[in-house]
């Protein structure tokens, strides 16, 4: 239903995936949520979970992502190589293998449901959410993108200038300063490139794999796929 000009649409599309959460975001909030609701854990995401995405529009929006996920899965099956276990070792952290459901707006999910809370009265109770990080200093949300970008640019120039070790230091600092910054994806890509420059292919592969698991449909995914972290190169067989 969009009447936007192609130029405007292109800008929106370019920005589109930048606001998506990572698999780590999903798992972290799931853990806090389970704690707040007083249940042991939320069931891990499965392809079945996606069937809860009711409605034609949801199916349409996931269609494109699904195509990318499937294409990547096919690629991974063909180019499977020994992988280093992810540092966080969260078995449930695989991203949802999104499969669009049929366009039924009704939900049909057979996974065991969480216990429901006792029905509440007419008055809406106040939601009390335990703050996740009580005394954490909050960075300025508005001007941080420029600072993020500047720091990332410095790291990129360090790699280009033949000092990838310095780039890694800068990227680590970036990660500490902006753990959930808007440019997390770029940071991961820069890490892969710096590690490749240093010939540390195993580490590059671990970062690349984690990136592709968390952001399978990122516009940056092709770049990671093309890096030494994924492509067979001259360094090893």
């Amino acid at each position: 239903m969009s009447d936007l000009s192609p130029e405007a649409r292109a800008l929106l599309d370019a920005a589109c995936s930048g606001d998506d959460p990572s698999a780590a975001d999903r798992e972290r909030v799931a853990r806090s949520l389970a704690a707040s609701l007083g249940v042991a854990a939320l069931a891990p995401s499965t392809a079945q979970a996606a069937t809860a995405a009711g409605g034609v529009s949801a199916a349409v929006t996931t269609l494109k992502a699904a195509a990318v996920v499937l294409a990547l899965a096919a690629f991974a099956a063909g180019a499977l190589s020994p992988r280093r276990a992810p540092r966080t070792a969260a078995p449930a952290s695989a991203p949802v293998g999104v499969r669009p459901s049929s366009s039924s707006p009704q939900v049909a999910v057979s996974a065991p449901a969480l216990p429901r809370p006792a029905p509440v009265g007419v008055a809406a109770p106040v939601v009390v959410v335990a703050p996740l990080r009580p005394a954490r200093p909050t960075p300025a949300p508005v001007d941080s993108l420029e600072a993020e970008l500047g720091m990332l640019g410095e790291a990129h120039r360090a790699t280009l200038g033949g000092d990838p070790a310095r780039a890694l230091t800068l990227l680590a600092a970036h990660g500490e300063r902006y753990p959930r910054g808007a440019l997390r994806q770029e940071r991961s890509v820069e890490r892969v490139l710096a590690l490749c420059s240093l010939g540390r292919r195993d580490e590059a592969r671990a970062v690349a794999d984690a990136f592709l698991r968390a952001h399978p449909s990122s516009p940056l995914a092709p770049r990671v796929e093309a890096s030494c972290g994924r492509s067979p190169g001259p360094v090893e067989r």
Partner: protein, 196 residues
């Protein structure tokens, strides 16, 4: 009207239940995993700052969990959830606005000499432009623009999610698009000016 639905445009909009269709129960874990990304990015686009995203997303799902037995399937779960997250986002924005009062918003300078991967620069700049743009919109226009242009919902779905009537929704979407086109034109003009 009870106070629970009074603050929930999605529920408020559904009206009295007619012949109740036989609904399968909605599994909460499945709902969480299917809609987490939507909830997260929508909160962000509606102006919830990064450090508050975890808490805000959690609030949305706690409210959804509490009200799940009142979901009647008159709309999709997605639009129902949006009704809930709208209130959460408004609350967080109000809190943020109070904190910033008197401080003045820092100006973002989009110019950067980062020579990173080309697609990264384009993406980062587009994201920044989008956030700046959304920040400058009126609340109602922002909500309609996010749902229609970024989530590709139809106008009636946007109406159900926001609780606004269809006419208002159409005019807000139109206004959002016009303002977005103007922003794009301004960017183009600036870039042309910069070129040697």
């Amino acid at each position: 009207m009870d106070s629970a639905s009074a603050d929930d445009p999605a529920l408020m909009h559904f009206g009295p239940r007619a012949a109740a269709p036989a609904m399968e129960p909605v599994d909460f874990s499945a709902l969480y995993h299917a809609h987490f990304a939507f909830v997260w990015r929508s909160l962000r686009r509606l102006g919830v700052p990064g450090p508050s995203l975890d808490d805000a997303a959690q609030e949305v799902f706690i409210t959804a969990h509490r009200r799940l037995d009142r979901f009647e399937g008159r709309s999709t779960l997605k639009t129902w959830l949006f009704g809930i997250l709208l209130n959460t986002a408004r609350h967080h924005r109000r809190t943020l606005a109070r904190r910033r009062e008197g401080e003045g918003l820092p100006e973002i300078v989009a110019d950067t000499d980062w020579s990173g991967p080309l697609e990264s620069i384009a993406r980062a700049q587009a994201l920044e432009a989008l956030h700046r743009f959304l920040e400058g919109l009126d609340d109602g226009v922002r909500e309609c623009f996010v749902l229609s242009e970024l989530e590709q919902l139809t106008a009636p779905e946007v109406a159900a999610a926001t609780g606004a009537n269809l006419h208002t929704v159409h005019s807000r979407i139109r206004s959002g698009r016009q303002q977005f086109e103007q922003m794009v034109a301004r960017r183009r003009a600036r870039e042309a000016w910069r070129r040697p």
